[in-house]
């Protein structure tokens, strides 16, 4: 719905009531998505109170182009993170974005704590807080099945839910979206758990008249054609992101066995090609995206004699394969899928959880930890044992797992082994490309590989200066933050140029946003950093563990001076930028 204000549903779980707010300030300065989320965080959050204070908000926001153009299909989730008690954002797709659009709200803000485990149901004509104590303790898949039966709206709704990890206070607990997508990072699942909120059902049952503009359907057609005619369909639909596994391995840039190695011929068992040939069941898409990048794999397990089998389906991508595969030394695709399946059921972020277990495995090798802590004998390549350990992590089985699930570095600070903890702000993503990526993730606002394309910059020819690299990170973040405010899938970034975005915004009536993309991007970038810093982030205190300086890539050894200078200059920029008028 095109409007010159934000329509925001604010729900207080302690009363089960909500109100629809019209927020006039910010439509032309913060756009929506990331911009709206941080704007609302400033309005509703209590910076001085901890993340689990019941008054803290959990925010979901969409953007001005959500549903109006293809691949404008993602939702931004913002909260004070259990991982670092600072401002955090996590992004996901599925049907969540279109369901929010058709629920006729630009954002959902959830405050308070339900008296008993509950499920929130919202729609364009619905607001209900349903008590669901019987779902508490249930895994993510089982919860989804029950919620699908309980509520109407099949096909045109989104179901968000948490698993045991989110109920048990893990800072690695994600929010599952429609089975195959996730607000994975930085503990959003535990924010829901702390509010006694097991699930959120968003009914997309609203209908809106379209703009009279003749330009809009014509432009839609052009954008659709560009998105489906370019190599995007091939890149993201064919092998998908798992194509990176072999490319990074060839570059000596794939994190393997807790980043003890960056290349190994054994990864042939977990390449994108291997998954596509032997495990790919089918593709799926986020609602509103014809690309269909979701790759769903399957495994079958013999559970009894006489050929009694069961089968499971789970989505896979480069990141889960790196985390549950190469990082843990698991090089059989079927075993990788089994581990992804455990993280899905438990509601754990697969990257954070598996990188944490990789550290614990090396700590055992070095004698820092023993089975007294880990309960099971962690060993690289032993998938079955890792499956058990993931359960221990989700349930917080003992003091060790309860600490590890708060973050690998927290456990390393207590037990030792900080130098080989693969943490860049949070557990690393699957790129060991070098100095620029390490700086980008360690200092990036979300500590995500998606904050800026540092991994891509690392692959450019050498000879660039520190300033060149830092300027790249700043510029790239600014471009991306506008896309995540609309809210576009970042896979579409090569098609959605600034000029095209301006045309799109203009065609549906957002002329002011169309005319001021640079200043709006800068506003959002600034407010996000201001919020992050005012909730406690000090970029100058970030340290990059020694392990990242010990690796060898296709470029040779890591240039430690370059890394240090990059870190200092980027941290300096972050420290100052948000104060500018």
């Amino acid at each position: 719905m095109i409007r010159d204000y934000f329509r925001v549903l604010v729900v207080d779980l302690s009363t089960g009531r909500g109100s629809v707010m019209s927020i006039f300030e910010g439509r032309d300065t913060f756009a929506g998505g990331s911009g709206l989320a941080v704007h609302l965080f400033n309005k509703y959050a209590h910076f001085d109170k901890p993340w689990n204070d019941h008054e803290q908000p959990l925010i979901f926001s969409i953007g001005p182009l959500t549903g109006y153009f293809p691949l404008m299909s993602k939702t931004v989730c913002a909260f004070k993170s259990p991982y670092h008690d600072q401002y955090a954002e996590s992004h996901a797709g599925g049907r969540s974005a279109l369901a929010l659009r058709f629920a006729d709200i630009d954002a959902l803000v959830i405050t308070g704590k339900a008296k008993r485990p509950s499920c929130l149901v919202i729609g364009s004509r619905t607001l209900e807080l349903k008590e669901v104590h019987y779902l508490w303790g249930m895994n993510v898949y089982a919860t989804g099945k029950v919620l699908r039966q309980m509520f109407k709206g099949t096909g045109h709704r989104s179901i968000l839910r948490i698993g045991p990890a989110g109920e048990n206070g893990s800072a690695m607990a994600g929010i599952n979206v429609d089975s195959y997508r996730h607000f994975g990072r930085l503990g959003g699942g535990t924010v829901m758990g702390s509010k006694n909120l097991k699930g959120i059902v968003i009914l997309g049952d609203g209908i809106f008249p379209l703009t009279e503009s003749k330009e809009y359907p014509k432009l839609f057609q052009e954008v659709y054609k560009q998105l489906t005619d370019t190599d995007m369909m091939s890149k993201y639909h064919n092998l998908g992101t798992p194509a990176n596994v072999v490319l990074l391995n060839d570059l000596k840039a794939l994190p393997i066995r807790n980043l003890q190695k960056t290349s190994d011929p054994e990864i042939q068992g977990i390449t994108g090609e291997k998954f596509a040939a032997d495990a790919l069941l089918r593709n799926a898409a986020c609602a509103g995206c014809p690309v269909g990048c979701i790759h769903i794999g399957f495994i079958r397990e013999r559970f009894k004699g006489e050929h009694r089998y069961l089968y499971r389906q789970m989505s896979y991508d480069h990141e889960p394969i790196f985390a549950a595969g190469s990082m843990l030394g698991v090089t059989n695709y079927s075993e990788v899928l089994s581990l992804i399946d455990v993280t899905e059921k438990m509601g754990l972020d697969v990257m954070s959880a598996c990188v944490a277990l990789a550290w614990a495995t090396e700590a055992i090798e070095k004698g820092i930890l023993s089975e007294k802590e880990t309960i099971v004998p962690l060993r690289f390549g032993e998938a079955k044992i890792y499956g058990e350990a993931l359960n221990h992590l989700a349930y917080g089985a003992n003091d060790f797992y309860r600490l590890l699930t708060q973050g690998t570095m927290k456990a390393a600070e207590h037990y030792g082994g900080k130098e080989f903890a693969c943490v860049l702000g949070q557990e690393m993503a699957g790129y060991a490309t070098g100095e620029v990526f390490f700086t980008s993730q360690a200092l990036g606002l979300r500590h995500s590989h998606l904050d800026a394309a540092g991994y891509s910059y690392d692959q450019k020819p050498k000879g660039k200066t520190v300033s060149d690299a830092v300027n790249f990170l700043i510029r790239d973040e600014q471009e991306r933050v506008f896309l995540t405010s609309l809210v576009a899938c970042l896979f579409a970034r090569s098609v959605y140029t600034k000029e095209l975005l301006s045309q799109c915004l203009s065609s549906v009536g957002y002329q002011s946003l169309a005319d001021n993309i640079d200043s709006v991007s800068s506003n959002i970038q600034k407010l996000r950093w201001k919020t992050r810093i005012e909730t406690g982030f000090d970029p100058k205190k970030v340290s990059i563990p020694k392990r990242f300086t010990e690796i060898t890539t296709w470029k040779g050894n890591i240039d430690q001076d370059f890394l240090k200078s990059l870190q200092q200059e980027y941290a300096q920029w972050i420290s100052e930028f948000w104060k500018e008028d």
């Binding site: 549903g67 195959y180 509103g288």
Partner: protein, 144 residues
């Protein structure tokens, strides 16, 4: 005469591009409900997708149920809609055996008109316009 068919729904990825195209181009709305083809998963995304659309009945139960002539029989199957005659009684939707007619909150019915404008938006060729024989003589014979 052609009708819209959905012969390859097992390829569907659930992107809703067909529904959204119908809403945008035929019904001038932003919606995935007020459309002639709705996509739903059955029992969650793990089981794939199905299309809810007009199967081009002839005679069409919705036409027989319509008390005002807003719905009339389309040659080759399906309905011709005269929106101005509709009193929003909802009888058409009640009679449709495959839930192909969507009623909005005001009771306005939305159904596939077999125009085929959704087809080019399907990235996996799930949909197809199929030529059907129109037996005009039978209709004439009925009047004799």
């Amino acid at each position: 005469m052609k009708i819209l068919t959905t012969p390859r729904m097992d390829r569907c990825i659930g992107c809703h591009s067909c529904s959204m195209a119908c809403a945008r181009l035929v019904y001038k709305r932003l919606s995935w409900d007020t459309v002639g083809i709705r996509i739903a998963s059955s029992g969650g995304l793990s089981t794939g997708f199905e299309a809810r659309n007009c199967l081009a009945c002839d005679p069409a139960p919705c036409v027989l149920a319509c008390p005002t002539g807003a719905y009339s029989q389309r040659k080759g199957g399906g309905v011709v809609v005269r929106k101005s005659l509709c009193i929003r009684c909802g009888e058409c939707a009640k009679e449709c055996p495959v839930d192909a007619i969507y009623l909005d909150a005001e009771g306005e019915p939305f159904v596939c008109i077999h125009c085929g404008r959704c087809i080019t938006f399907c990235p996996h060729n799930c949909l197809e316009m199929v030529k059907v024989a129109v037996e005009e003589t039978i209709e004439e014979a009925d009047h004799d």
